[in-house]
């Protein structure tokens, strides 16, 4: 099961037949396992990693450090939930260290992100402070080096 997930994580376009061939298993068996993992939400979705810079996209991303005061019984979860329900929020992680939540925001303009932080995030109940860091350049995402220059430099034939 883990092997199937690792393969799909590296290439979501792999068909059950191909995965079965790679792992020396039966195609129907692999298809069944994938279906089951989709049903029980182990597989949450299939996405495409896009290098938007290639299209000259002006999208703005920011990492917001958020300090919050935890609430009785639910700790940080209730506030985190209120935050991650905004569609502008790409990811939310609870962190150890100097701040509590790392929130990744995506917007069309810097102004849009700034507006979201000041009017939605910073003003939220239990949020103590925010620190906004705009992303200047993305080098690597989801384990993939964007603009990777490591081409095949081997000789075409080697004994």
């Amino acid at each position: 099961m883990k092997e199937i997930l690792e393969l799909l994580e590296s290439d979501a376009m792999l068909t059950p037949g191909r995965i079965a061939a790679m792992l020396g298993r039966d195609e129907e068996e692999v298809a069944g396992i994938i279906k089951e993992m989709e049903n029980n939400k182990t597989i949450m979705g299939y996405f495409t990693l896009v290098n938007w810079d290639k299209l000259g996209s002006e999208k703005v991303n920011a990492l917001i450090e958020v300090k919050i005061s935890p609430q009785r019984d639910v700790g940080f979860d209730a506030v985190a939930e209120r935050i991650y329900r905004f569609p502008e929020v790409r990811s939310v992680m609870l962190m150890s260290g100097a701040y509590d939540l790392a929130v990744m925001i995506e917007g069309d303009t810097m102004k849009e992100v700034a507006h979201f932080v000041s009017f939605k995030l910073a003003s939220m109940e239990y949020v103590l402070s925010t620190a906004t860091h705009f992303v200047l350049k993305t080098y690597k995402q989801h384990g993939t080096i964007l603009n990777d220059g490591e081409e095949d430099r081997r000789q075409v034939i080697v004994p």
């Binding site: 790679m22 020396g24 075409v156 080697v158």
Partner: protein, 422 residues
């Protein structure tokens, strides 16, 4: 008036008489064709893992640019001794039983030159890597080929060894997992061969560069067998398992007197392996296991894909159990290995290496390296499929258990069979 030098006459006849590489002419051919997918590359398609490259960069920043001891860095030899012990439970003293070489290639050359007197015979399984026979010849020895066959999974047998022994036989060369066939050798076969080596006082030179790339069963290190540590020169390196081909880092392990004699040649010809490569090799051994396992798992997945593709195409191929080569039989296409490779290159722009480049016994086969991306393998075998279809006009897909052609019904033998992959 100056006399014109005829350089052809100046070449040592031993060198002159070594036949040109069967691969070289394909190199020339392929440079004329655009859009070729090459399955002819005998090295990993992975770049050396970053932590290894980074360790080397750091060492350069720190000024590690000098010679090392002729034997190689002691730290590296200690790490190699530990690795051999942990993997095969064989002990080598890092101080005098291990020599760091510039890849297995140098180790092989040193071993041959240190061992052979003119006319000594070297038993070499065939098909085999292209360097063995020339190295034996250049050292004054005489290569004697042991013809392994697909019927026996290209494994060497004690019987083949026994029959080839003459009063001049001095060395038995072993090379498993094997390039070009992908064959491994069973422990049982090795034990039988070892018995003969002991009884007939043969020195075994064992090239185990692909040992970690064993996908079915476990690799048996020759020197781990009873009585073999004393008579084995173990050659290994970092090229294949750690994707470090261009670094040129390898080692020889064996009897201290012999290693000392090899070192004599090494110190006068190579002096030492490059320090950058030695530092990289040290990092590979200390921290490279997890990356290595990932690469090997990927090779294994590709191996299965290739076997699956060959089965679909209908080309018979015994199951490769190690290295990163498949060695399908192509005689059903009605072409020689050479013709097959040339036609395939011309018509479908896929490069494979004709089996006869690895000795006569490779005729009727081609070597397909699956050290290529899955997308390239996919496309390459789609093209090979079209090529075969055209050659045959019709297609039959049959199945049988690999390595036992005697069990195939006669009417299905005509060329179109493939075994199971695991």
């Amino acid at each position: 008036m100056t006399l014109k030098t005829n350089w052809a006459d100046m070449v040592n006849p031993t060198v002159r008489d070594i036949p040109p590489s069967g691969i070289r002419r394909f190199f020339d051919l392929v440079t004329e064709v655009k859009g070729v997918i090459s399955l002819g590359v005998g090295e990993p398609d992975f770049v050396t893992p970053w932590h290894i490259r980074e360790a080397c960069l750091y060492s350069l920043e720190k000024g590690y640019t000098m010679y090392t001891s002729n034997h190689g860095m002691l730290e590296l030899r200690e790490e190699i001794a530990r690795d051999i012990h942990n993997t095969y439970k064989v002990n080598y003293n890092p101080r005098n039983e291990i020599l760091i070489t510039t890849g297995v290639s140098e180790g092989l050359d040193l071993a041959m030159r240190t061992l052979l007197c003119r006319g000594d015979e070297v038993l070499i399984p065939e098909p085999s890597y292209v360097s063995y026979a020339p190295c034996a010849t250049l050292a004054g020895g005489k290569p004697v080929y042991l013809k392994t066959s697909v019927e026996n999974g290209f494994q060497l047998t004690a019987d083949l060894v026994e029959k080839a022994i003459t009063p001049r036989t001095k060395v038995l060369l072993l090379s498993y997992p094997n390039n070009p066939t992908g064959a491994t050798i069973d422990r049982k076969h090795l034990l039988e061969i070892a018995e003969i080596a002991v009884a007939r006082n043969l020195i075994v030179v064992s090239d185990e560069i692909y040992d970690k790339l064993t996908y079915v069963g476990e690799h048996t290190c020759v020197s781990s067998l009873p009585g073999m540590r004393e008579r084995t020169i173990l050659l290994n390196g970092f090229s294949k398992a750690y994707a470090m081909t261009g670094w040129r880092a390898g080692y020889a392990a064996g009897n201290s007197d012999f290693i000392s004699a090899m070192t004599k040649i090494h110190q006068y010809t190579m002096l030492c392996a490059p320090i950058t490569a030695q530092i990289a090799a040290l990092e590979a051994l200390r921290n490279g296991r997890s990356e290595m396992r990932k690469m090997i798992a990927q090779f294994n997945r590709r191996r299965r894909l290739v076997m699956d593709a060959l089965r679909e195409i209908g080309l018979p191929c015994f199951e490769p159990r190690g290295a990163f080569y498949a060695f399908p039989e192509i005689s059903s296409a009605g072409l020689t290995s050479d013709e097959f490779a040339k036609q395939l290159l011309k018509e479908e722009k896929v490069l494979v290496v004709p089996g006869n480049a690895f000795g006569e016994q490779g005729e009727g086969f081609v070597r397909c390296a699956y050290a290529a991306s899955e997308a390239d393998l996919n496309e390459a075998f789609r093209r090979i499929g079209s090529f075969i279809k055209r050659r045959l006009g019709r297609r039959k897909v049959l199945t049988f258990t690999i390595g036992k052609p005697e069990q195939i019904p006669e009417q299905t033998r005509e060329g179109l069979v493939v075994g199971s992959s695991q």
